[in-house]
Every structure is written in C-alpha cells, then in structure tokens.
Amino acid sequence: MNLENFFLMRHELVLTIITLMVLIADLSIHEDKKYKIIALATTLFAINLIIGFFPSLTGNLFGNMYKTSDLQLTMKNILNLGVIVILLQSVTWLKTDENKLKISEFYLLVFSTLIGMQFMISAGSFLMLYLGLELATIPMAALAAYDRFRHNSAEAGIKLILSAAMSSAVLILGISFIYGTTGSTYFDTVAMHYSNTPLQTLAFILFFSGMAFKISLVPFHLWTADVYEGSPVNVTSYLSVISKGASAFILVIVLFTVFNSIAMIWKPLMYIISVLTMTVGNLFAIRQQNLKRFLAFSSIAQAGFILLGIIGASEIGMTSVVYFIFVYIFSNLGAFGVVSVIYYKTQKECIDDYDGLYHTNPKLSLVMMLALFSLAGIPPVAGYFGKFFLFTAAASAGYYWLVFIAVLNATISLYYYLLVVKAMFINKNDQPIAYFKTDVPAKIALIICVIGLFVIGFYSTIYQYIQSISFGL
C-alpha cells in the first residue's frame, strides 16, 4: 500500500488534524482570550469544507474496511456544509459568560462526532460502522449535557447516553448474529451469504432497530423530544440535522448493498414504520408549545418521509433521499437558527412568545417562514422539490397507498407549521419580542440557509449530479 492511498480518507484526516490544532490552541491560549478559538476553529473548518470539494480518487483502503466513492464524498460534503452553518450559528451562544472557559470543548466534541459520522458513511465492514456510530454518539451525549448548571441539559445528556448505549447493544447483538451466520463482518462477504433464514432475518431486524434509534423512527423515538428540548439550541440543531442525516445516509447504503437479497423482508417493514413515523410525529407535533419540542416532533415526521425514498429501492429512491436530506439540512437549520437567535437574546422559546414577531423583527420572521414552508413542502422553496422526488420514488415502485398516506400527512404538517407562521404574522400581542440586531455570524448563517433553500430547488444540476452517482438495488 502506498502512502498516497491515505489521501482517500482526506475528509477524516483533515478533520483529525483540525481537531488536534484546536486542542493545542486551547492549551496555549490564555484564559482571558479563549474567545479567539471561535474564529480559529471556524476558519479551519471552512478550509476543511473547501478542501472537501476538490476532486479526489476513489477506492478501498485497509482491505475493504474503508470505502470511498463519489456518492460518499458528496454525502460528507453535505454534512460539512451543514456543520459550518451550525458553527456560525453557535457563535452568539459560545460568547456568553458561562461558556467562557469551555469554548474549545464545543468544537472538539463537534469535530470528533463529525469524524465518527464520516467514518461511518465510508464503512466497508460492520466493525467500522459500529466504531463510527459510537464515535458519533458518545461525544454527542457530552454535547447535550454541555450547559452544566441547567437541569434540563444534564437530564438530556443522561437520557441520550443511556438509550444510545441500550440501542447500540441491540445493534451489535444483531451484528454478532450476522457474523455467526456468514462468518464475516465485511459488507461484500456478508452480502454474498445473506438470505432470509430465520436467524438472519432476526439479525437484520436487531441491526435495523439500532439504526432506527439513531434516525428516531417511531417505535424508537421516545428519547428524541426530551433530548432535543433539554440540549442547548445549537446542539439540538446539530442532533436533528447532521446526526440524523448521517445515519440515514449509511442506512440507505447498507440496505442497498448488504441487505439487498432480503429486500422482500425490509420493504414491508419500512412500509409500516414509515406510516407510523409520519403519523405519530405529526400528531404529537400539533400539541407542542415549546418550539424545540415542536421541531423535534416535526423532525420525526420528516424521518418518516425519508423512508418513502428508501422503500422504492431504486436509483431515483437513493437520489431523492440524499437530495431530501440536503434540502432538509438548510430548512431545519434556518428554523433552528431563528429559534437560537431569539432564545439567546430573550430566553423565549414558546410559540406564544412569537406572537407579533413580524412587526418588530420582520427579517427573522421571513426567514422562519421560508424555512417552515420548506419543511412543509410549499412550492417556491426547495422543500417542495425534496418531497416531490421522494413521492415520485415511492410511486414509481407502485406504493400508491403509501404515497396517499404521505400526502395526507404532509397536509397535517402544513397545519402546524402554519400555526407558527400565523403566530408571527397575524396574532396580536401587546408586548412582542422587542427589536434587536442579530449578530453578524448568525446573520451570515441565516443568509446561507435562505440562499440554499432557493438555489438547491431551482439549480437542477445538483439533482442530476446526485442521480449520476447513486445506485439502485
């Protein structure tokens, strides 16, 4: 093996170096000047983002344990784009006094979870997948418990780590049966030996339960709302967008490449779980007052829509899943961006508090409205195209009833997204949130989100490029 082969894992290597640089900078910078790390880490990550877009070789490393192709590179770049937006959004929060001494910890934890997700996406064996998954989960719990003196944050941390540990135990029980029946943990070998014998079906279902926990599909979603509400707002947006997106990516890859011989088993499973996830997520979202909790349930419902693309098991299906997550990153980050800006200025995060926001902060309300329209799937913004392609993928595979239920659910979701828009634009309020100036980094992040929402929808090259690198069953 040549040394140049290591450049195949460029994304992970650059990110590891950046993590170490932030660590060393933290040691050498005086306590009063820790805020300098914010600029340093964000700049370094922006460089990483740009390096990620350079064309690269593709291939396998370490005896097929690590695989990379254009599809995986694109997925990593999508995640990097989302993370840079989150880093910009979290500047306001990190500059507060209580976080003065632990700024670098935020960056270290975010970068190490991102390294985990990128290794997970590039996994070529179940061992790599498991390690990446754990590297993405364990620091995440520390992030959720970041606000040390807030009860809810500690509670969110313990809820996340205990349920994540439980789910990963179920996941590796599944992997152990896969190993026991096929004699290998490598994707290629497992795919050759996989059939629908009872033990292998059980192994698949255990494995799928573990993954479903990460994407918060319905029977495994109970941790989501609590953890999302308790964590700091920026960590919540990281959890709901990047963590969920990465797990959905690897689930698509694993289902299409490893478990393709038992598609007739996982398709009905996906059907049921998709219907359950959309319906339960939507019905619970209607009764929420806290915006973070509201967005948590809405993100559960969105995960149900993602399954619609997977169930088609075609090239269009994979394209629509990757494209939908790309759009979803910008729509959800737009919504969370506004919530975090308002929360750290006024400590308010209930829907009622947003009454009359349009009259005092028209720009923020417009961004929030566009983001919510995109989540609901209203035409001019990109969310519409994302949902449209997902529905096309399911319909072209003949799942008309499923598409019908999904359309019904999309209508229900429109109701509760519009409740927030109504609160901002129509509801009267004697004491609306006063006018304030948004900090520059958060403003840039919101502008990126809005541009993303329009450009991804209308610039069809993105969709065509993703389609050219995806594959079906």
Binding site: F126, L127, Y130, L131, E134, I138, P139, A141, A142, A145, R148, F149, H151, N152, A154, E155, A156, G157, I158, K159, I161, L162, A165, M166, A169, V170, I172, L173, I175, S176, F177, Y179, G180, G183, S184, T185, A225, D226, E229, G230
Partner: protein
C-alpha cells in the same frame, strides 16, 4: 478443537445475560445500576462473538477483534455516562431515574 463443551451452552448463557441486562435496564431506578445493565448486555454480545469465532470460524480472528473493540467502546461509554451521572447528582442531589423527569410528553 473444543474441550467437549457444546456451542449451545455458551450461546444460552450469552442470551440469558443479554436479557438479564434488558430486564435490569427496564426495572432498575438507579442510574448506575442501569449503566451496569447495559454493560452486561454488551458483554453478553462479546461472548457471542468470541464463541462464534472459536467454534464456527476458527481460521480467522474477526470475532475476537470485534469483541476487543466492543470492550474499549463500552469503557469509554461508561466514562462519559458516569461523568454525566455526577453532573446529574450535582443538579438534582439524587441519581434516582425518577427524579430526572422535568421534561415529559
């Protein structure tokens, strides 16, 4: 190859351990005990891996490697979980899981 102990014995033990862990995780109220239950589940999976490797595929080492990695990951998981439990104790003056119920529904 083996010492006369059939593979089923190990697998039954591992399964019993796993479900003892699940039972403990669901019924216990103390956060540390819940963490111990999860460790029990992870260790039962380790037995699975080692036994499959030893009895079914003795020519290779993948199962042994996997269980080594699982041990390492379980240790780091316990470290983070206990750190958070200490933080819970400082916030709530208790590590009873029923006290950590400020957010519901």
């Amino acid at each position: 190859m083996n010492n006369g102990i059939p593979i089923e014995y190990f697998l039954v033990t591992a399964t019993l351990m796993f479900f003892a862990g699940v039972y403990g995780f669901i019924t216990r109220k103390n956060l540390i005990t819940m963490l111990m239950s999860v460790e029990l589940m992870l260790n039962s999976v380790n037995i699975n891996f080692v036994v499959f490797n030893r009895y079914l595929f003795p020519g290779q080492l993948e199962g042994h490697f996997f269980s080594l990695f699982v041990i390492a990951v379980a240790a780091s998981e316990a470290a983070v979980a206990i750190a958070i439990i200490i933080n819970i104790y400082r916030n709530f003056q208790s590590i009873d899981v029923e006290k950590t119920d400020e957010m519901k529904f």
